[in-house]
Subunit: 242 residues, 2 copies
């Protein structure tokens, strides 16, 4: 997969793209990550990329030319998904990550501080993605977040040992609690069942805990699930104990 990011702050990506899974994925050849400074595509001798808004008001607006020029230069006739990181976009989910992981070619556009000229939104981008209802300084952190979620799904990127954490959203339930050594840490103890060696009981405890946690923290996830008969029994048992 090719991923190309357009940003006004390309240095922000160095640490994240050079560590952990994103580093390994590049070394394995699963993904090529590139970051280009939007300023390189300004037609203005001062490398200006923004200007005052038509109609007045505070703040600056990213001009259309640098963005169109940059996307055209880096795609060179290919037709990638062009993703605008923007608080008004579709909310990012694991399903969207899985969808994007099927592509060969992704371009991410990151604004910073300011609005985008609407013509970028209407005529240049194929997807608008938001990672949530909060205000950030720019689209860089959201782009890194989406890229991390997508790249770890690419074939060969995760080893077996890493891949289990995907379960937390694929079952539709929150994960059960985890414990490791020591069994007694400053008087805080691991539940007996996990030390019992009885795997049927351990599985049962974990499934119950998973339902309990989902019920307490994210009942909306439960509503979206079609439960098996056995799961309905577990849920009824938990509710009766609450």
């Amino acid at each position: 997969m090719n991923i190309h990011v357009l940003s006004l702050f390309p240095d922000m990506f160095t640490g994240v793209f050079g560590a952990s899974i994103l580093k390994k994925a590049q070394e394995k050849g699963a993904v090529e990550l590139a970051v280009t400074d939007i300023r390189e595509f300004s037609e203005n001798k001062h490398k200006q990329v923004d200007d005052y808004p038509y109609g007045g008001g505070a703040g600056m607006v990213l001009k259309p030319e640098p963005m169109f020029n940059a996307v055209e230069a880096i795609t060179a006739g290919r037709k990638p998904r062009v993703i605008l990181m923007c608080p008004q976009g579709e909310r990012f989910t694991q399903k969207k990550a899985e969808e994007l992981a099927q592509e060969d070619d992704l371009v991410f556009l990151c604004g910073h501080y300011e609005g985008y000229d609407e013509r970028i939104r209407e005529h240049l981008v194929t997807d608008e993605i938001s990672i949530g209802d909060f205000v950030l300084t720019g689209g860089e952190l959201p782009a890194m977040t989406v890229i991390d979620a997508v790249v770890r799904l690419l074939p060969g990127v995760l080893g077996q040992a890493d891949s289990h954490i995907q379960d937390s959203f694929s079952t539709g339930l929150l994960e059960h609690p985890h414990y490791t050594r020591p069994a007694d840490f400053r008087g805080m103890k691991v539940p007996d069942v996990l030390l019992s060696g009885n795997h049927a009981k351990i599985d049962e405890w974990r499934e119950e805990q998973s339902f309990l946690r989902t019920l307490q923290r994210r009942p909306d996830l439960l509503e979206a699930l079609e439960l098996t008969e056995k799961q309905q029994e577990i849920l009824a048992k938990i509710k009766s104990q609450m």
Copy 2:
């Protein structure tokens, strides 16, 4: 404000903490950002920080000692909010950013790949925050995201020119479209009203567009609003035209 991050990948933070608003906020003395490697607090000569899960299963679990030791060492008797970045946590919102911006002292715990020992969750942390329903490699990008959202709210961090973008969530509506020069870019034109110089009409257009966009993309936001009589009229007008 003091912000201290505990991570297994401290180098991931360099680019983000050294650029843009987070850089400026540190230079202005509004925030001190520090990142510490959790491995420094391992009691094991191999600097091991994780171990196999009790009860079996794939994946590793972060041990309690290094996390407890690290938090105790860096807080040295102070009582900061200790925030665990975790997909099971409370969903991060602008309201939570505003709440955290009132604090003097925040500690962020970032796991990587794996689960946390439950005793960390139960006895060490004060808040568990998730940035959304997607699977990431670690808590580092979520921590950076929360830190960016919080630090930009601190007094003196944003200049007047930057501060307008906060509006997008404070009005409860999505922003209206923005346009800047050129008025005609490759045949794509700026709406006439914005070039009219009639500020009453421009304000009206913007408010209508803001409602229209919210209605099309995020009707859930509208349901949460108490509309003035004038706003109800605008909404009725838009709906009648759809």
